[in-house]
């Protein structure tokens, strides 16, 4: 492992710093964990494509020295599918907000997971739409206040990990910004996993979600992450009442199933053989 300084120089576009994120925002911690995982996994920057959605989290790709782009809101996984299928030797990493991934992009999430295409999804879940000013997202907890749920959210939230698991993802894990090393570990496993891998990073938006829900500043929210996180093993013996306002952390899925682009390559070989 290289030192912090050389990691910064190697992977970050330091000329683009300081970043736009607010003090106390969780995005920086997640991206820190992600680049350490990339470094540990030994991915070559020239062979790694990072695509990010539109949102505060989506700005990440602009700070990263990789083949990177930010196309439109919600379609990151569909772009990734085209890249990975055409050139399977590339590593493709998708950075998405909770809105990007589970709302506008929800359809692409379930189908990328179903195909088990070998891309890594990093979901930065801050429980709201940060970029547009703090509206409710599909992961906003019931009762929470946002700019568009001023009387408390009446919509039940998605559990993104459950969604990915049910859709067929073969690596699914969740951690949070109080545990950056665990995030790095999960990201690293996701990056070296042969199939669709999703890591959900619970992170904070103190400026909007935190303020509207009186959760305190960045530091308080971070401490709160620790209190809310329940390890998978412990969660198994808890009732849903006991898990209210908590989130379960750990590795939910880690299994093998044929990866989509490998299946495609096999099909090509078979078709060519039959044609001969």
């Amino acid at each position: 492992m290289v030192s912090s300084n050389s990691i910064v120089e190697k992977y970050l576009r330091t000329d683009k710093l300081p970043h736009i994120w607010c003090p106390g925002c969780g995005n920086g911690i997640v991206i820190n964990s992600l680049i350490r995982a990339i470094d540990n996994a030994g991915l070559e920057q020239e062979k790694t494509v990072i695509i990010s959605g539109i949102g505060c989290s989506g700005r990440a790709s602009g700070y990263l020295k990789f083949c990177a782009f930010q196309p439109v809101h919600g379609r990151v996984l569909a772009y990734a599918t085209g890249i990975k299928l055409f050139k399977p030797e590339l590593h493709v990493i998708c950075i998405m907000g909770d809105g990007d991934c589970a709302s506008i992009g929800g359809n692409h999430l379930i189908h990328a997971a179903r195909r088990n295409i070998g891309v890594t999804a990093a979901v930065l879940n801050n429980s709201n739409y940060g970029m547009t000013g703090g509206q409710y997202s599909p992961t906003t907890p019931e009762g929470a206040k946002t700019r568009t749920s001023p009387y408390g959210n009446i919509e039940p939230p998605f559990d993104i990990c459950d969604l990915a698991k049910a859709s067929g993802a073969t690596y699914v894990a969740r951690s949070h910004t109080y545990k950056p090393r665990i995030l790095t570990k999960y990201f690293q496993k996701a990056l070296t996993h042969d199939g669709f891998a999703l890591v959900e990073a619970m992170c904070d938006c103190p400026t909007l979600y935190g303020r509207l829900n009186k959760k305190g500043a960045g530091k308080e929210m971070l401490m709160n992450q620790k209190d809310r996180a329940v390890p998978l093993e412990k969660a198994k013996n808890k009732s849903s009442e006991e898990l209210e306002d908590k989130f379960v952390v750990g590795e939910f899925v880690n299994k093998t199933r044929p990866e989509y682009t490998k299946q495609y390559t096999k099909m090509i070989e078979k078709v060519k053989l039959e044609a001969d």
Binding site: R13, K16, Q45, E46, K47, V49, S61, G62, K65, F66, C67, A68, F69, Q70, P71, V72, R75, A78, Y79, A80, T81, G82, I83, K84, L85, F86, K87, E89, L90, N107, H108, H111, Y264, M267, I268, V271, K272, A275
Partner: protein, 384 residues
Amino acid sequence: MGKGRVAVLSGNDAIAEGALAAGMRFFAGYPITPASEISHFCADELPKYGGKFIQMEDEIASMAAIIGASMAGGKSMTSTSGPGFSLMQENLGFAIMAEVPCVVVDVMRFGPSQGVATVPAQADVMQARWGTHGDHPSITLAPSTVEEAYHVTVRAFNLAEKYRTPVIILSDATLSQMSEKIKIPDPDSLEILNRKKATVDPQQFKPYQDDGTGVCPFASYGDGYIWYTTGIVHDETGFPATGDPDKLTIQINRLHDKINKNLDDIIQVDEYMTEDAEIIILAYGSVARSAFAAADKARNEGIKVGVVKPITIWPFPEEVIKKVSEKVESILVCEMNHGQLFEKVKETVEGKAKMAFLGQYNGKSIKPDKILAAVKEVSSGVFQ
């Protein structure tokens, strides 16, 4: 594909054959009538060439996937019809902005919304020009025969590669389903263009640095270059230029200029018996077929009629239309819509010739006799 051969193909199959010959190696699409046969062909054929076909979850994803594949260096295409074309518009805008070559086929069917899936129209002409938001250029081509569908598709790929832009092919339900004999050329005889590749030292590479041609060299993912791009208006580095009014203007101008400064190369218009014509029938796509037949009949009856058939719809062939309008008395625009290209022609003609419009929007192809009747009315001054 083999060497040159004669075949009986549908319009849809000819487009797919042309794409394959042009080097398409990636296709993503979502089933829709009357375009689905293009997908079927690609699903059958692409794996044989080591290419990839994927049926995506919708047309938004299809458009995204072909852009992604092209960024990784593949020549890519999708095909659809009106409802799907509407869904593609946002990502189409990204391809224009990030300057990613790809080909989008819209086999036009009838009506807004679901319309009528199985019958033809030409009502997406303005959508092909302005469907995605913001100021942007469009290259849109419209073939009128099965053989032309093949060659227009090869050309669409060539223009996409040469100018680093998506190219739209407007076909229609009539052309897509009809069968005609076509000569498929020996692929080696075709002119195939490939995008200009980045050759500079990767450290020096700026993805949108104009090399003087207006079209920047392309670095496919995996070719050793690290670069950034975004749908946000960007400067030559690929990074947002949102705070700089001058840079915003430069970028929008460059997008337009690379097309507008090459109109001679991009614009293709067929003229038929226009030399001494007093009346011009202007028609494109499958309607042009009836226009030619009507012109022949009119000539037999002594009416001096010619046909102007734009194959390039956008950029609009203004110069050609202007020249024609100076020579002739009347221009009769025939379209399967309520009046789309007609407005553009009228604006271009600037009163130099009398304008008449024959629009048919009943899901039926316009028959030659109907055009002939309109020509006679124009000729006798009834049709004003």
